[in-house]
């Protein structure tokens, strides 16, 4: 089992994802340079947070053209596990691997704080270790996390249970109040129809140790590990 963390120019959460997987989960992980088209036989790919290409033009708009994205696309189409965090989510949307797009936060400001998200679906490789309805405390740090898509796409997302994380209050009572950025349907994270590609705005890699304020993000990485172990067994 090996994780790959893609490094774009301007990625700045690449080391954090690397640390979470390597030093906290103690699983093999390596960096993949954006100009490489070789995914180094990784079993799961993480597109980390940051400001790839300085958010010039539009968040993720330039990164999607990096050579590595061709391979990531091929990998995803063949069922490979891809997780986009924050800017990684934005890149996946720009690349068309996930539907929808990001707008400026409704408050028009950068927001960094712990938010609470509800696990809406557990039949994905990113949430299989979580309880349905489980509430996770995880930090956000973004200017453009206001997820948006057209009505038809939104209906599809809900219909196919592709909304896997939704903002809510600490007790899960009021999703609208818990929504920090105006995202439609309080969407914090989605997966593709095939459920092997997911993106979320919150930073689970920043919530893997209680010393940092929360370890709720671990469940997402544990899920990925379990899914990989399962897949390995299946092919064995």
């Amino acid at each position: 089992m090996k994780f790959g963390v893609v490094v774009f120019p301007g990625s700045n959460c690449d080391h954090d994802a690397f640390y979470a997987i390597g030093n906290v989960l103690h699983k093999p992980v390596e960096f993949i340079w954006h100009q490489s088209e070789n995914l180094a036989n990784c079993d799961a790919i993480i597109l980390p947070g940051g400001f790839s290409y300085g958010d010039h033009l539009r968040t993720g708009a330039i990164a999607r053209f990096s050579p590595v994205m061709k391979s990531v696309e091929k990998f995803a189409k063949s069922g490979g596990m891809v997780l986009g965090i924050c800017n990684g989510f934005q890149i996946l949307c720009e690349a068309g691997l996930l539907p929808g797009a990001m707008m400026r936060n409704s408050g028009l400001r950068f927001i960094c704080r712990h938010v609470h998200i509800r696990v809406e679906q557990t039949d994905t490789p990113f949430t299989n270790a979580a309880q349905k309805g489980q509430i996770l405390k995880i930090p956000i740090a973004h200017s453009d996390g206001n997820y948006h898509c057209d009505e038809a796409t939104l209906a599809d997302l809900e219909e196919n249970r592709q909304v896997i994380f939704r903002y809510t209050t600490p007790d899960g009572s009021d999703d609208n109040v818990g929504n920090p950025n105006g995202a439609v349907h309080n969407i914090a994270g989605i997966c593709n129809r095939e459920r092997n590609v997911a993106g979320l705005m919150p930073h689970p890699e920043r919530a893997v140790e209680s010393a940092l304020g929360s370890s709720d993000g671990l469940v997402i990485f544990h899920s990925m590990v379990e899914a990989l172990v399962g897949a390995a067994k299946a092919t064995a």
Partner: protein, 793 residues
Amino acid sequence: MATAVTEIKVTPEIAAEHGVTREEYARIQQILGRDPNITELGIFSVMWSEHCSYKSSKVHLKRLPTRGKLVVQGPGENAGVVDIGDGLVAAFKIESHNHPSYVEPFQGATTGVGGILRDIFTMGARPIAILDSLRFGEIKSGKNTTEEASAKNRRILDGVVRGVGGYGNCFGVPTVGGEVAFEPCYSQNPLVNALALGIAKKEEIFLAKAKGIGNPVIYVGAKTGRDGIHGASLLASAEFTEESKQKRPNVQVGDPFMEKLLLEACLEAMQTGAVVAIQDMGAAGLTCSTMEMASRGGTGIEIDLAKVPQRETGMTPYEIMLSESQERMLLVAEKGREHEVLSVFKKWGLDAVVVGQVTEGGIARINNNGRIAAEIPAHPLAEEGPVYNRPIAAPAPRVETEKDWFAFAPEGTNLTANFVKLLSSPAIASKRWITEQYDTSVRTNTLAGPGASDAAVVRIKDPKTGTVKRALALSTDGNGRWCQLNPRVGAMHAVAEAARNVAASGARPIAATNCLNFGSPEKPEVMWQFSQTIDGLAEACTALNTPITGGNVSFYNETLGKSIYPTPVIGVLGILDDASRVLKIAFRQEGDIIVLLDGSTSAVGAQHAAPLLGNLSSALAREFSSSEYSKTIASIIAGEPPAIDLPAEKRLQDCLVALAAEGALQSAHDISDGGLAVTLAESCFASASSLVGAQHAAPVLGAIVNLGADSLCSEHALFNERGARAIVSVTSSRLAAVLNTARQYNVAAHELGQVTRNGSFRIEHKGRAVLDSSIETLRDAWAHSLERALAGR
């Protein structure tokens, strides 16, 4: 030497326009043995500007303590460096970007942050934290502030905050702390002081000394444009006038994405072992970096401007040398290995060009298309610039009587309403609205972000293994109001509070950096303030074992002839040997005992520790008139800062560090702005996020406290700001141990009361409730007032 026919002939008048005095011009002629050409004049003018040469402050800065057993690199390099154990060092420094932030708040703040970050990674250290110390004019209209002025101050604050966040967030370093203060004197002259901290292996620290005759000089990073010519150097070296807005083109423009690439490329290039020296291009850009590298290395340097990557066409040598375009570096590589360095920058998509070489003989020669554009002996230029011992004159002593001072409310007055007003004042209110616009958690090292502990605390991951043992704590402080009333005592308080904040996080203070913000050095009373400040800093830094390792001086903080308060901002760095022992301000659980630790008197209670000058109550009124409470409630700013007792500060700090190491405390929070009452309330407010066993949110804890029955009035007991004190909370089972440790350190420990969970906040004095409110009422006032004020409400 050849000069272009079209070139402007330099006259003393043109020199004067460059801020070069007749004496300085004569000095230039003497150094060159001839008249300078216009490019050389430009080079001298920026190198000898106040900002770059410290010509007015040098003679005083000598008095600061700069040595210590942990100090690896003191003032004079890009940043100070201290040993933090396990073969690691910390590089840290604070710098001002005041004038540009007034002319163009967003860009001024971004380039301030970018500049200090460059200073850190230029030394081979990876930046891990940023703190920002900000001062603005009043954002609420009132007695001394018109609605128009307050609206402008709000716009400046908004631009500065967006700028700080915009740079740090994109660059990927957390902005973990700092402070924000408001006084009318900063209305036309905000202060933006940015501090950056970085980590490196001890043997991998880089210095800016050109070495090795024939070694190639390499230019890397952004292309050179016409932006920022005379930016920092000129903007920061003259006071503001009505025309200053026309200087907007002098403000540099920052690109954090470019700097992020530059960071990664520079650190990677340094790993090749082919880099001999490196210097960032900050103030005075290419001029400063070439001249200083040669001067420090005792060599000469030769560069060809035609090779310098340029963003615009037709730039003159003058413009290229003086441009302050951001995100540029100059480095010296080992001859024959330049390709190793160049390939790293190519990988990161950055310009990297060999523009010259290190030469013998100490001459800096600037060529341009085969012509010599400038030829200057580097060392005299960099090191033998003018030094002024400017006239000093103490202002006429303030004549004050009791009627100028705060009049204490009659005994038994319920002070709850005043307390709510104090908690709502921008100075005391929660700064969450600001700090949430900063990425505080990137790099996953932040153990205590803004407001969580008295100091910002970041853990240290071993660069190779990633294992965590130690943490570093940082705090910036500086009370301009107190320094205005008494510069020497105010400066001592700045050091004492920064060090106390670090100790209250559990860390041992080890070193300091300073940013000295003052008015015009040409005014004798400003130089008096400066000299007094240096004396105060020297005394406090010596007493608290925090040598000054670097920083900067910002003079000419005046607009239309009016100076700001003298504002020394001190950043103190501390080490926490066990990262898991970090102390936070939040009360943890119901029933914990609230204890006041007071280093100032081991015999009697804190309330009796007043300076015994003359009549006690008038002495207290005099001291109290400098407090936040006096300013907020009575609009009185007078008297003197609280008397300072450095040995008491040291005792308290050592005690806090020991208690943290024992793991004996539930929480710790020093007493400063707003006094004991505000300290207690803040420990309650913070409990929302850190209750023991709390899942997510939890009801806020309250407190019931009894201040006893001493003879002094309640307002003083609740709100006085004397130092050397902290409020800690302790489980009943650990109380005896805590009292015992306090005794060992000769620190008085007073049991004041208990942490409660009944939603109320109550302080009794002389048997009467002087503060009594629901904790939520207080919290609402404290939590949302800044936001409301900024919305103009």
